[in-house]
Amino acid sequence: MIVAEHVTVRIGAAVLVDEVSLEVKAGELVTVVGPNGAGKSTLLAVLAGDRVPTSGLVRLSDQVLARQTGKQLAARRAVLPQRAGLAAAFTALEVVMLGQAGGDREGRAERAAHRLAAVELGHLAHRSYPTLSGGEQQRVQLARVLEQLGDDGGRALFLDEPTAALDPRHQHLVLALARRAARAGHAVVAVLHDLTLAARHADRVAVMHRGALAAYGPPAAALAPDLLHRVFAIEFDLVNAGGRPLLAARPASPTGA
């Protein structure tokens, strides 16, 4: 559903994204990982249509992104940014409702309330958004984005470091919701820092290194320790925890041994 063809993003002499081609199918959750500055967020921005690549193009459901209007894009994809500000004291419920497009008001409030319950914030529906913690705010934004996306499938969802401010329970909650969106028929792409989360929830993982795609495939294959060592410049232990992979970085000892 999402097809990137030879996407390159250059600013001056710096190459942020280097000839990346990939495809994300409907029903898939793809996570993008890589060290800082590898180009993950830039790539996500291009895939979401926020940024026009210097060369190459992106298609969403066979339509070239660059030719879509803002309204057309809004109907086809939703984006959860790393940090969404809000300059007003809306309630959590009202924030979620901002993602809705239409329909009668009563039904909308009800759907928004359900969505909040899905992110385990139902009890805070009428709390003022600025009074929520960073993690709670992030989840409210996710609820809003999921509202925009809808449950019918056939759209794309982009998440930029959605787990940054969350505690472990909610980190997994968010990714479980992302996977649920994928199962509903959407194509989901999430930039993550945490390799274990990426490995656990993704159907496929894209590993980025200096703007290029170093690996793209199922977690077991893409997150091979050798590759990770090369990309992240640190060694990883792959731990098998009850059938699920757990990647633990092994820093060099302070004495250099």
């Binding site: 008001r105 009563e106 409030a109 009800e110 309330a113």
Partner: protein, 309 residues
């Protein structure tokens, strides 16, 4: 989502629509029914056969002063803020500044005559007063002895007492001309700079063609400033170029400037002959600039001040 809440959310759109429509209908009805008050022609006329007005609102210091001088002061029910003479005006209600009058306020006084200088306004208020059937007479200020006399006569006519008006007018004209003749027989030829504080920190200096310039001429002085017409802000260079022997200020203005010290401290003035001699002449605002019944006395006072040390 309960049924009650749903009803609540649906309710306001119906109720507020109904309210809005009701308001619009009421306003539309009133608008349609409006009379042509906005365009009714002025009712105030100068018919001298009208009965003498008993409740007069006087606008403009000199106009008020003239009414009192003609003996009709008891019939004045209110004045504007510039009417400070005679003292009896102090006890009267004030209808505001002459250029920004309020129609309803004046109507509340139930006047049968509004006698005003030509500066009275705004025009909408004058029109509204006339629409209400109140006689409004506007009298221009002509800054000459003859003009002052003419206005006194007009006021007398409007008040229904032509005789008194003509007598006072003639007196003022005669005494005014006499005062002028005396002053100009032995002109002091003092170079005078007229200054007033306009407000907002700006000092204005009179050039030619103004009331103060006319007073200076009547009093046998010489206007030190002839390079422009009307009023201009004070500048040090202009003051030095004018080189006045005396500085003339309205009395209230002197107080606001901080007395003679304040005046000579103004830019440039301290170095003029007037400034060095600290020769600052202050005369009552209304008497000096009003061109009213006290004009002859004003000419005398000013010419005496100019002739003196």
């Amino acid at each position: 989502m309960t049924a009650a809440r749903a009803k609540l959310l649906a309710m306001p759109s119906r109720k507020s629509s109904a309210l809005a429509i009701a308001c619009v209908l009421v306003l539309a009805a009133i608008s349609c029914a409006r009379s042509k008050d906005d365009h009714r022609p002025a009712k105030g006329s100068s018919a001298t056969t009208a009965p003498a007005a008993q409740r007069i609102v006087a606008i403009g210091g000199a106009v008020t002063e003239t009414i009192y001088a003609l003996g009709a002061g008891a019939r004045v029910v209110a004045v504007d803020t510039s009417s400070g003479y005679p003292d009896a005006t102090g006890a009267l209600p004030k209808v505001g500044y002459q250029r920004t009058l309020a129609a309803e306020g004046i109507l509340a006084l139930e006047p049968d005559l509004v006698l005003a200088s030509a500066e009275a306004g705004p025009p909408t208020t004058i029109a509204q007063l006339r629409s209400a059937g109140v006689r409004v007479e506007l009298l221009p200020t002509i800054e000459t002895v003859e003009g002052a006399a003419a206005r006194i006569r007009s006021i007398g006519a409007v008040l229904g007492d032509r005789g008194a008006g003509d007598r006072l007018g003639d007196t003022v004209e005669r005494d005014g001309n006499a005062a002028r003749a005396r002053a100009q027989a032995h002109p002091s030829a003092t170079r005078v700079l007229f200054l007033y504080a306009r407000g907002g920190g700006t000092m204005l200096v009179s050039g030619t063609g103004t009331g103060p310039a006319q007073m200076i001429a009547l009093a046998g002085g010489v206007n030190a400033v002839t390079s422009w017409d009307g009023f201009r802000p004070l500048s040090a260079e202009a003051a030095l170029a004018a080189a006045p022997d005396a500085i003339l200020v309205p009395a209230l203005g002197l107080a606001s400037l901080g007395g003679i010290d304040g005046v000579v401290a103004l830019p440039g003035l301290g170095d003029t002959p007037a400034g060095r001699a600290r020769r600052v002449i202050a005369i009552d605002d209304l008497m000096l600039l009003g061109f009213g019944p006290r004009l002859p006395a004003a000419i005398d006072e000013l010419s005496a001040a100019l002739a003196g040390p």
